[in-house]
Structure formats: structure tokens, C-alpha cells
């Protein structure tokens, strides 16, 4: 990286931190919640993009990894004195009943457990390709959920865990987001990241170039699971409560839309996608409310319409706009500078390039 870009990046991150402070101090909790949700979804979207976009392995297990992270945070950060109340149907397993961790430790533990699980299932699963991989990872995510439902003494089963110390702090979540994004950006730009892309482009050629498919896929899968676990942990802390139904495999579709819209194989795209999908869904809320337009009641607008729009958007994206907003491109300072200097020319050139 050039020195100029490095400096600009650092300034940019500091500026964004300033913005995070501002949002935390000045905005109401509704806005903060939306911002936080955007950031958490961006982390999970990015984690999914690592396997699906950069390594080209179509995995649909994100909900399961999130569940591991969220439950780790849920189980270990709930104050010990509340636990008896929460686990009213079946007492908590004494081995973990008295362990209370600070949030950061629980997050890392959750990420690590998710990564460990990814490692364990990676061996059989990552030999598969395409559709098979998609269905088996989806299957594992369901198995995790079913296990959580049944393991009452550890997870409180269907009753869920509540009273997770609430976290609606933009600064905290922003910091974690920055760490995740910086880490994955560096990883993708390292030699390992290039090996990932090689696997995406052509597995057989990559293997012939000495790239161990199994190890590299597994590595990406574990890193992805780790950050999905962290994202899930934040998600749990943000909601203050977790229960198994949160982590139905349909949850993964949200992140699929994020990365498809943002661009499979683009870090910038993951962030853009997360913001657009989260904030956009919030904005689209008026579709669910009865609408009076020019004195007429439009019968189209009633609960459920928003989700129809949401799914149509996903379809339109795949069909007509397969590369999403960013494709595999990234934000660079050079492009930004070019744009600021000569906005019209930049757009024209971009148009011509496409």
C-alpha cells in the first residue's frame, strides 16, 4: 500500500470513529439500533463473502455459526444471579452455571468455538462442491439449531436466554467491525488471499500450482466461521435475548442478499450491501402499512408486501445485475480522488470500461 493511501485510510477510520461517537451521543436509540444492526450484518455478510465470494465455496451455514457465537455470549455474559430465574424449566449445567465472562471474552470464545466447529465439519464438507456444499452447510446449521433446542441444561432450549447485558453502543460495535474488516482486508490482500481467489477461479489449476485445496478452503471456512461467530455474539448482545428460532436457516438468506447485492468477492460491497439491505428494509417498511394515495386506499399495501419486494429485489439482482454493486472491485483512494477531481469524467470512463 502506498504511504498516501495508508495515511488516508487511518484518517478515514478516525473520522468514522468520530461519526460513531456522534451517533452514540446525539442520535436516538432507534437510529443507533439501525446503525448497529447495519454494522453487525456487515460483519456477518463479510464473513460469508470470504467463503462464498473470495474462495467461491457456496456455503449456507452462517446462521449456525452465528448461533454458536450468540449462545456463547448469551450463556456466559448473563449475570449469575439471574440464571436461576432464566433456567426455570431445567437448571443450568453446574459446570457452566457459575462462569461469567466479560463481553469481549465471550465474543472471542464464541468466534473460536464457531471456528472449531467449522474445522470439524470442514473435513467432510469441503470436499463437496456447489449445490452439495450449500445443502450440507445448511444442514449443519439446522443441526446446530436443533441441538440448541434440545440441550436444555446448557442453552435453556426453546425458552431462550434473556437478560444478556444489553449492548447498544455504536462505538463498541464499530470498533469490532473495524477490526473484522481490517483483518479480512489484510488477509485477502496477502498471498493466502490470492490463493483463495485462485481456488475460486479454477480449483484444478490452483491445485496444480501447489495450493492445497483442503487446507486453504478449511482456513477460509474457519476464519469465516470465526467472524460469523463474533457477529452472532454481537447480534445476541444487541437483542439482549437469544432463542433457537432466531437462527433458522432462512436467516442466512439475509446475508446472501447482502453479498449478492454488494458484490460477491468485494469487501466494500459487503459493507454497502449490509447498509442497503438493513436500512433499506427499514425504509421499505411503509410497504407494510396501509397507504392512502390521493385519497384512495391502495389495497396492495398490507403486511407481507415488503417481504415480497425484498425477494423480488433478490431475484432482480441475480438475474439482471449479477455482479451487484461492486462486482469484485474494491474502493480505493485512487478512485475516490479521481472521482473528486473529475466526477463526470470518472463516471464516463467507468461506463466505457464496462
Amino acid at each position: 500500500m502506498k504511504k498516501r493511501d495508508m495515511i488516508l485510510t487511518i484518517i478515514g477510520i478516525i473520522a468514522l470513529f468520530g461519526l460513531a461517537f456522534f451517533v452514540q451521543e446525539e442520535m436516538d436509540s432507534y437510529i443507533r439500533r439501525i446503525v448497529n444492526l447495519c454494522l453487525v450484518y456487515a460483519i456477518i455478510g463479510l464473513s460469508m463473502n470470504l467463503t462464498n465470494g473470495f474462495v467461491g465455496q457456496f456455503s449456507l451455514g452462517q446462521a449456525g455459526f452465528m448461533a454458536i457465537g450468540a449462545y456463547t455470549v448469551g450463556i456466559f455474559t448473563v449475570p449469575v444471579e439471574y440464571r436461576e430465574n432464566i433456567f426455570y424449566a431445567m437448571p443450568m449445567n453446574p459446570a457452566i452455571a457459575d462462569i461469567e465472562l466479560p463481553l469481549w471474552a465471550a465474543l472471542i470464545l464464541g468466534g473460536a468455538l464457531a471456528a472449531l466447529f467449522a474445522f470439524a465439519i470442514g473435513t467432510p464438507v469441503l470436499r463437496l462442491r456447489g449445490d452439495y456444499l450449500a445443502v450440507t452447510t445448511l444442514g449443519f446449521s439446522e443441526i446446530i439449531r436443533i441441538w440448541i433446542t434440545n440441550a436444555q441444561s446448557i442453552t435453556n432450549g426453546a425458552l431462550g436466554i434473556k437478560d444478556i447485558p444489553p449492548l447498544n453502543d455504536v462505538r463498541y460495535i464499530f470498533l469490532v467491525t473495524v477490526i473484522c474488516f481490517v483483518f479480512i482486508t489484510l488477509l485477502v490482500n496477502s498471498s493466502y488471499g490470492r490463493a483463495f481467489k485462485a481456488i475460486r477461479e479454477d480449483e484444478i489449476a490452483a491445485e496444480a500450482m501447489g495450493i492445497n485445496l483442503f487446507w486453504h478452503k478449511n482456513l477460509a471456512f474457519m476464519v469465516s466461521a470465526f467472524f460469523a461467530g463474533i457477529g452472532g455474539g454481537l447480534y445476541g448482545a444487541l437483542l439482549g435475548t437469544v432463542d433457537p428460532k432466531n437462527f433458522l436457516f432462512t436467516l442466512t438468506y439475509n446475508f446472501l442478499l447482502i453479498i449478492v447485492l454488494g458484490g460477491m468477492g468485494s469487501i466494500t460491497g459487503s459493507m454497502l450491501g449490509a447498509v442497503i439491505v438493513t436500512a433499506g428494509l427499514e425504509y421499505l417498511r411503509f410497504f407494510d402499512e396501509p397507504l392512502m394515495l390521493f385519497g384512495m386506499d391502495i389495497p396492495l399495501f398490507r403486511p407481507g408486501f415488503r417481504m415480497v419486494i425484498f425477494s423480488v429485489l433478490l431475484m432482480v439482482c441475480v438475474l439482471f445485475w449479477r455482479h451487484g454493486i461492486m462486482g469484485t472491485r474494491e474502493f480505493t483512494w485512487q478512485k475516490a480522488i479521481d472521482f473528486v477531481k473529475n466526477p463526470l469524467g470518472f463516471i464516463k470512463r467507468k461506463g466505457a470500461a464496462q
Binding site: S190, S191, Y192, R194, A195, K197, D202, M209, G210, T328
Partner: protein
């Protein structure tokens, strides 16, 4: 002897693609493998490079230290690390990546830093990375692809793509290079250039070359020895002159496939 296959056989279901193939390749040689379509040539390559594990038989490779290693059924990536690189019959470049990246990726197999130090860009990784970039630059300049280094691989003309695939294989620092029909689809002029290119790399990079090829001009011109395969079995072996005069080969192959 750098490569030796001993009675390797490959069966798919009930079909025997290659039967008891014995090939010996000496250090520094250029050896060609010819035969009609479907004779099992690519299958033989795939067995040597680990894509397939032979149903029977063994593949031996002698490394730089002169030690003979049994590489039968090893992973393709491990075989590449030992110093055997290859190209593919239907070009398999990393299409959406640039020429530069294509070659740079081929340096990855010699990377010693673990993934965490690579991700965190720790000093020892940065040193290695610098070396990888230097190697790539040097190689691209030497083979004349420097000017197109920022082009997408898929946007290169056909002949250049073939050449890039060979260069990418070279970047893994092989001792033995396997070329699967490098001149396929080329016109006589391009073939001529390719012949020259193969000569050049053979000379400059201290290589042993083992190739499958249909262009007889090219094969006869640069090969030291030739193996002829038909229906998965060797029907002849020898110098270009010997092969050209071998009646069985003429019957089975040369006469039929001349115009291909």
C-alpha cells in the same frame, strides 16, 4: 532419471484408459507423448500430477538432491511443491485475475509464513512477499509478458494465454514441466513461435520437459525422445527418426491424424 512410471494402469469403471504404462524421463530431456485422441495421454499426465491415483502401478520422481520419491497418489499440490508443474489441454487460467496475479499466485506454494503472520503483514512475511513480487516481475520481463501484466488473463489473445499458462507453471520453479498440447489451436506461425519459446525456457530455466502434442513438426523438431500411445498402451518408443520410420506408428497414428 527424473521421472519414472512403473506399470501404471488407470481404470474408470470397466474401461481401461491406460494399461501398464512405463515411461522414463532423464534429467534435461524433452520427451513427447503422442497418440490418437482417446489414447490415454492426458490420463497419464493426470496420474503423474496426482489428479488421478493410478489403479495399479507406481510413479517415482527424483528430486534435486537425487533422492527417488514415490509420488503415486500424492495430492496434486504436494507434487507441485516437489517441482512438477503442468499446463492443461483446455486452458485453465485464473480468468478474472490479471496476468501479474496469475503468475504471482504461482509463487504461493513456496511461502513459509503462516497465515496469521501473512494476514498481519509481519516483517518476515513482508520479506517473502517482496521476493515473490521480484520473482514475478523478473519472470514476466524475461518471457515478454511484462507489457500486458495488468490485463485480465481472459482478455489476452489465444496464443498469449497459452504462453501465460506455461509462464505460470514456470513460476512454481519446477524441475519437470508437463505441457498438455501447448500448440493446440495454433496456426503454423504461432506454433513456430511456441517452439522457439519452449526451446528458450528449456535452456534458460534448466528444465526437463514432458509434453503431449499433436503438431508433428513441433514434436519432431524439439523432442529428444517420443512415446507413442494407442488404446492406453505404448506401441513405440524412440528418437524422432526411429518413430517416423516405425511402421506400427505410421499405421496407427501418423497416417490417420496428419491433418489434425
Amino acid at each position: 532419471m527424473i521421472l519414472k512410471t512403473k506399470d501404471i494402469t488407470m481404470q474408470f469403471g470397466g474401461v481401461t484408459a491406460v494399461f501398464k504404462l512405463n515411461i522414463d524421463i532423464n534429467d534435461g530431456e524433452i520427451v513427447a507423448l503422442i497418440g490418437p485422441n482417446g489414447a490415454g495421454k492426458t490420463t497419464a499426465f493426470n496420474m503423474v500430477t496426482g489428479v488421478y491415483t493410478p489403479t495399479e502401478g507406481k510413479v517415482f520422481y527424483t528430486d534435486a538432491k537425487g533422492e527417488q520419491i514415490d509420488i503415486t497418489g500424492k495430492l496434486p499440490s504436494d507434487i507441485a511443491k516437489l517441482g512438477i508443474a503442468r499446463t492443461f489441454q483446455n486452458i485453465r487460467l485464473f480468468k478474472d485475475l490479471t496476468v501479474y496475479e496469475n503468475v504471482l499466485i504461482a509463487n504461493h506454494l513456496h511461502l513459509k509464513s503462516d497465515f496469521l503472520s501473512a494476514t498481519l503483514h509481519l516483517p518476515w512475511y513482508m520479506n517473502e512477499a517482496k521476493q515473490m513480487h521480484r520473482n514475478t516481475e523478473k519472470l514476466l520481463q524475461e518471457v515478454g509478458l511484462w507489457e500486458v501484466r495488468n490485463e485480465k488473463a481472459s482478455s489476452l489473445p489465444y496464443g498469449q494465454q497459452r504462453r501465460l499458462e506455461i509462464v505460470r507453471a514456470l513460476a512454481t520453479k519446477p524441475r519437470l514441466l508437463l505441457l498438455d498440447e501447448p500448440a493446440a489451436g495454433m496456426n503454423p506461425k504461432e506454433t513456430e513461435e511456441l517452439t522457439e519459446f519452449i526451446r528458450q525456457i528449456h535452456r534458460e530455466y534448466n528444465l526437463t520437459i514432458f509434453m503431449i502434442e499433436h503438431h508433428m513438426d513441433l514434436v519432431m523438431e524439439i523432442s529428444d525422445r517420443i512415446y507413442v500411445l494407442e488404446f492406453g498402451m505404448t506401441i513405440a518408443e524412440g528418437t524422432p527418426d526411429e518413430i517416423q520410420n516405425n511402421q506400427r506408428v505410421i499405421d496407427a497414428y501418423l497416417g490417420v491424424d496428419e491433418d489434425a
